[in-house]
Symmetry: C2
Subunit: 527 residues, 2 copies
């Protein structure tokens, strides 16, 4: 969405400093800083300025109606209702404005009809009963509309119920006090209609901001956010040698300042309500711009968003692994680095391609990409499978760090069942590569040394029981616990890999959902 | 929250059928069904009825002011503004109403002051310039308020900016047209004040619905939802023998009809916006009911909610494991059942205790519970560690199902380093128990048979490549793939356990956050 898609640079980004002309920050007056912030905010999305000027234009147009006297003489004081209508109806997007307008129009109409009927009934009941009937009807209209707007399926029309309530009260009361209710009601209706028409015209004809376009861009942005976050998380996981890890208790789980993509991903997770609201607005919009046919499947966007969130949950779990107290040793992570990185990059590329296809409204099959993602994931699976002894036999390794077990049951079996398939050979060479990588790591940075680094973190788990270690025979009990943790620590790599594989498995559903969207929205085919 | 906390019964709950007097559903008219639905909806939360009747009462009171003639004669037609104010200001909770009232009052005041000032300026500029100055000022007020309400930190005051806009327009225009702007403005202010006062009094004195209470109950409910969902997910994972699994492609990832607790948990995950909105309303409320001191830390509720969501992400990942295409064999899951169940139950109990403590506004240390959670988790870790050969040596098992490897390196090492610590003995007996359980399972339901059941699922992954299996030398290639999947399948149990352990690790943070809340909110201590 913001152009920097290709690669992730993990660094601490100081948000407000993004601007172009940021000279010295020190010694700047608060007023200047404030002006710069506002300017920055406006520059981020020029639609904000457009929207503001459009509201100004709409109220100006309605005010002119009154200032030039003619409509004022026709409608009297009722004309001020047109201003109220503009102020209340003017929403950010065209769809939202149409939606509000519909609520307003239908609400006013229903309230008007009901008020006039009620008025006739009350008048027919005679002078004495009239105020009682009116009062009772007001009470019931208030209670019933308030109850109905709480009902889940009617919540989107909340505004309509408010309109019914106050329009009804206004018409029936001013009718009672000022006489001639139909005349009053009609004048007000015309005024509201004038305000509504001005609002709709200005909103949809002057630089329209379409909810559909917003939804489209939002979805594409979400794809990139998840891809970025996945890459960021994996990169950090592989780069983290446990030395620069902050004290866990200090990393409050909600602010990782050095992980900008994570924040975007979490924003995506929390965006379900926003997606639905924007899609709801988009449904009210006529065909426009790139979305040229009627009944455009906006609800499919919401569904693709839901599947994407489903994938993003796995990224959150991967992120949980990254910041978990129990960490796989650095060298072990290094050993599986090529496979993990490959699977990650392929998955991220697939995600970005999907996002790009949606953005360009193209429908492509992505078969090659999917195949590559699957084969790289299978490679990761196979690698984990073949080296599973690394994941569980940490006891041995700890006893004799540089010596690696040369022949392993799982390996031998794979080799005896040798067939002509090339993948086996590939995985064998891969196997050797891995082993040597592992040996190199182990030799370069001795296992015990790494373990010592890890120790601090192991000690700190479970953080509540740290005090218990202080007394008692620390050596034996601790040794016992340490062993368990070491093994669990190694298994945590398997967890990370499994989550990654599960993420890829879910991509299938994402591809299906995107394909359905592409078919329903009639994206142009591009095979 | 709804009383059924202790145990989870996994069954398909047909939502609308919850009522008491559900006789024959067939042959029922739509109208009757609709009435029953509405009645059901009202019965779920009686506050909904209360709220509706309160709105009715408030509009009735304001209408009476007009019907009894006296205020009408003082304020003239301006008095209808009080009705508008009630309809717009009356919100569900006391805090939200106060917040709206504040926005309305400050907005009206600012608009009034600015309008009167502007009026004087325009009048001083002479007859000809006056309308131009007024029109220009309207345009700028519209543009500036619209821009400001988009600014993130000002979004909560969106309503206030709308009020400024229309109040300004109304005052300045009716002043221009009708003369005597100050008189008009004042009359309208008084009317609005009357409406506002009636709204606030009715809302806060007649069966008040406090946002604070809602937030409190919402948080407690979230604790129970996460605990329920955890138990449900683990129970289903252990009970699922792969036979009754629906075709994966059919379980769209978002509707698991037989998992009511999962839905509640997902609702908790999506509730961040709601939490913040309710907390924002609660801040406006005076001390009331159980929340008796000023500056009650409502924002801490939001923070605890965030930490709880952080835990719930792990539950979502566990749920992902449960519905993953790659599943650990049933017998393997059975082998670790006691440890997994124990850890789950302890964790769920801790969650429920935390929720209960918050509900009762008690501050207890929960040391025993925490210790039990940790020790049961350690037991699970140790068990996974000692039986890690089960997780990786599936090749051998497949070749000779009933024969289990008797001496394993990891085991021997644990035994040679024998110390006097009782935990080792305990884990040894545990070890034997597990082995026998595993053997029993393997004998009862032969491994191959289970594998055949799994096969369908393995075949279907990656679902896109199913067609590839149809042609080519299925046997050799498939065998190769199957082996990899089998091992990965076994490792998926390790993933499940790791996620469970990570969940427990996060509980520490939850305990800390809850404790901070208890201290700041001055819950009564109960050690």
């Amino acid at each position: 969405m913001n152009g920097k898609k290709g690669s992730i640079v993990i660094k601490i980004v100081d948000r407000p400093e993004n601007g172009k002309k940021d000279s010295g920050d020190a010694g700047e007056s608060p007023a200047r800083k404030w002006i710069r912030d506002v300017w920055q905010f406006a520059k981020e999305d020029m639609n904000r300025i457009t929207f503001s000027l459009k509201v100004g234009l709409a109220v100006l147009l309605v005010s002119l109606l009154i200032l030039i006297r003619a409509p004022y003489e026709v409608f009297g004081t009722s004309i001020i209702w047109s201003i109220l209508t503009v102020a209340i109806m003017f929403e950010y997007t065209v769809g939202a404005t149409f939606n509000r307008g519909f609520n307003r129009a239908l609400g006013s109409l229903l309230a008007g009809i009901f008020a006039i009927t009620m008025m006739q009934v009350a008048m027919a009941c005679g002078q004495i009963a009239e105020p009682y009937i009116i009062a009772l009807s007001i009470f019931f209209v208030g209670a019933i509309t308030s109850f109905m707007k709480l009902y889940p399926s009617l919540v989107p029309y909340e505004y309509g119920f408010r309109v019914i309530l106050f329009t009804y009260c206004l018409i029936i009361i001013s009718g009672y006090r000022m006489g001639n209710p139909i005349r009053t009601a009609m004048d007000r209706m015309y005024s509201i209609a004038i305000g509504g028409i001005v609002t709709v015209l200005v909103n949809s004809l002057v630089f329209p901001i379409w909810a559909g376009e917003q939804l489209h861009l939002e979805l594409v942005g979400s794809f990139n956010a998840v891809a970025d976050s996945l890459e960021e998380c994996v990169k950090k996981y592989l780069a983290d040698d446990g030395s620069s890890h902050p004290e866990f208790s200090k990393t409050v789980m909600d602010d990782f300042a050095d992980e900008p993509a994570f924040h975007k991903c979490r924003a995506t997770l929390n965006s379900s309500a926003k997606f639905e609201a924007v899609a709801n607005s988009a449904k009210w919009e006529p065909p426009h711009g790139r979305f040229r046919h009627f009944f455009y499947p906006w609800s499919e966007y919401v569904k693709v968003g839901a599947v994407l969130r489903h994938c993003a949950y796995e990224v959150m779990a991967l992120h949980g692994c990254l910041h978990s107290e129990i960490q796989a040793p650095y060298n072990l992570r290094c050993a599986f680095q090529p496979e993990i990185l490959d699977a990650t990059n392929q998955a991220a590329e697939l995600l970005r391609s999907l996002g790009k296809d949606i953005n360009n409204m193209k429908r492509s099959l992505l078969t090659n990409l999917l195949k590559r993602v699957h084969s790289s994931t299978e490679r990761l699976q196979r690698s984990i499978d073949m080296h599973s002894y690394l994941l569980t036999s940490s006891h041995e390794i700890q006893d004799c760090p540089p010596k690696l077990p040369i022949s392993q049951p799982s390996n031998t079996i794979t080799r005896t069942s040798k067939d002509s398939h090339s993948q086996v050979e590939e995985s064998e060479s891969n196997d050797e590569k891995l082993n040597s990588a592992y040996t190199k790591q182990v030799q370069g940075d001795s296992y015990h040394e790494t373990m010592r680094k890890q120790q601090r973190r192991l000690y700190s788990w479970p953080s509540r029981e740290v005090d218990d270690y202080e007394d008692g025979d620390v050596d034996t009990e601790m040794l016992q616990k340490m062993r368990t943790f070491e093994s669990t620590a190694a298994l945590s790599l398997a967890t990370f890999a499994s989550l990654l594989i599960e993420f890829v498995a879910r991509l299938d559903h994402l591809v299906d959902a995107t394909d359905l969207l592409a078919r329903m929205a009639k994206f142009k085919e591009d095979y």
